[in-house]
C-alpha cells in the first residue's frame, strides 16, 4: 500500500487514481467532521468533495514529510466553519441526519444495535444543542483529535478562547447527558 506522501507525489502529476486512493482512505473521517459541524448530510458531502478538490489543487504545496490527516481536518474544519457562520440561520433537524445514514455493524444482535444507536443519537443530540462555536471546538478536539493550539489556528482565535469554549461545551454536554442519566449508562456500556 502506497504511503500518503507517495500518493501526493503521483497526484502532482495529475494522477487522479491517487486522489481516489486518498479519498477512499480518508473520506469517512472528513465526512464525519463536516457532518458534525454543518449538520446537513448533503452539505457535508459537498464539503467532503471540496476538501479533496483542495487536496488536488494544492498538491504541490503540501509538505509530504508531514502527516496528511491534520491538513485534511484543517481544510474540512475551515470549509465547514465558514459555511456555518455564513448560513447561521439555516438549521436541519437531527432526525433528518440520523435517518437512513447509519450502517449497522455486522454480526450484532438487532436489539443491541438499536440500543447502541439510541445512545449514539443521544450523544449527537447533546452535541447538536451546543452553539456553533462550542460544537466546532468539541468536534475538532474529540473527533478530529486536534490540539487546542491547532484549533486556535484554524478558528483564528486565541488559545484561551478555545479552552474556554471547550470548558463550557464540556459542562453543557455533561449536564445534558447526566440529566438523561445517560452519562452513567454510557460509561458502563463502553468502559
Amino acid at each position: 500500500m502506497s504511503s500518503d506522501g507517495e500518493l501526493i507525489v503521483r497526484l502532482r502529476d495529475e494522477d487522479l487514481d491517487a486522489l481516489g486512493e486518498l479519498f477512499e482512505r480518508y473520506r469517512h473521517q472528513v465526512y464525519r467532521v463536516a457532518l458534525a459541524i454543518v449538520r446537513d448530510p448533503y452539505i457535508a458531502e459537498d464539503i467532503l468533495q471540496d476538501a479533496f478538490l483542495k487536496l488536488h489543487k494544492y498538491a504541490h504545496r503540501i509538505d509530504i514529510e508531514r502527516p496528511l490527516m491534520p491538513w485534511l481536518y484543517r481544510v474540512t474544519a475551515n470549509l465547514s466553519y465558514t459555511f456555518v457562520t455564513r448560513n447561521a440561520k439555516r438549521r436541519v433537524p437531527l432526525d433528518d441526519v440520523n435517518e437512513g445514514q447509519l450502517v449497522s455493524p455486522k454480526g450484532q444482535a438487532p436489539d443491541r444495535v438499536t440500543e447502541r444507536t439510541e445512545l449514539r443519537n443521544d450523544v449527537r443530540e447533546a452535541i447538536e444543542t451546543l452553539s456553533t462555536q462550542q460544537r466546532t471546538v468539541v468536534i475538532l478536539h474529540y473527533l478530529a483529535t486536534l490540539s487546542i493550539q491547532e484549533i486556535a489556528e484554524i478558528l483564528e482565535c486565541p488559545v484561551g478562547t478555545v479552552k474556554s469554549r471547550l470548558h463550557h461545551a464540556r459542562n453543557n454536554l455533561r449536564q445534558r447527558l447526566q440529566s438523561e442519566q445517560l452519562f452513567a449508562e454510557l460509561t458502563h456500556e463502553y468502559a
Binding site: 502532482r12 495529475e14 487522479l16 486522489l19 481516489g20 479519498f23 477512499e24 473520506r27 469517512h28 465526512y31 464525519r32 457532518l35 458534525a36 448530510p41 448533503y42 457535508a44 458531502e45 467532503l48 468533495q49 479533496f52 478538490l53 488536488h56 489543487k57 494544492y58 498538491a59 504541490h60 504545496r61 437512513g100 445514514q101 447509519l102 450502517v103 449497522s104 455493524p105 445512545l119 449514539r120 443519537n121 450523544v123 449527537r124 452535541i127 468539541v138 468536534i139 478536539h141 474529540y142 473527533l143 483529535t145 464540556r170 454536554l173 455533561r174 447527558l177 452519562f183 454510557l186 460509561t187 463502553y190 468502559a191
Partner: protein, 124 residues
C-alpha cells in the same frame, strides 16, 4: 495534614476530570462512527474526479521577494514620526500621573487637616 488532604482532593478531582474527558472523547467518536454519506462513495468520487479534471493545480509556492531596504529619507521621516509619538505619549503619561499625584496629595492634606482638627478638639 490539611495540605495533604487538599492534595488528595485535588488529585481525585484531576483524575475524575481526566477520566471524564477520555470518556467524552470516546463517546463523541462512537456517536459518529457509523455515519455514512447518503450518496454512494463511487458516485461521489466520480463527481469529484470530474471537478478535479477541470481544476488546474497550483504551482509550488514561489519564494517571497526580499523587501527593499528603506531609503535614508524614509528612515529619517520614520525616526521623526517615532520621536513625535513618543513625546506625545510622555505628555499624556505625565498628565495622567500628575492628576493621580494631585488626588493623592489632596487626600493626604485632607486627612492631616482632619487629624489636626481632631487633636485640637481633644485638647479643648
Amino acid at each position: 495534614m490539611n495540605m495533604l488532604n487538599r492534595l488528595h482532593e485535588w488529585l481525585d478531582e484531576k483524575t475524575c476530570a481526566e477520566l471524564d474527558d477520555r470518556r467524552l472523547a470516546r463517546r463523541v467518536r462512537t456517536a459518529y462512527r457509523h455515519v455514512e454519506p447518503p450518496t454512494p462513495a463511487d458516485d461521489l468520487f466520480a463527481q469529484l474526479r470530474a471537478r478535479a479534471e477541470k481544476t488546474p493545480q497550483l504551482a509550488p509556492e514561489a519564494r517571497r521577494a526580499e523587501t527593499p531596504k528603506p531609503s535614508l529619507a524614509t528612515l529619517r521621516k520614520r525616526t521623526e514620526q517615532e520621536r513625535l509619538i513618543e513625546r506625545s505619549n510622555q505628555r499624556r503619561r505625565s498628565r495622567h500621573y500628575g492628576d493621580h499625584y494631585r488626588q493623592i496629595m489632596d487626600y493626604a492634606l485632607n486627612q492631616m487637616r482632619m487629624s489636626l482638627l481632631d487633636a485640637g478638639m481633644r485638647l479643648l
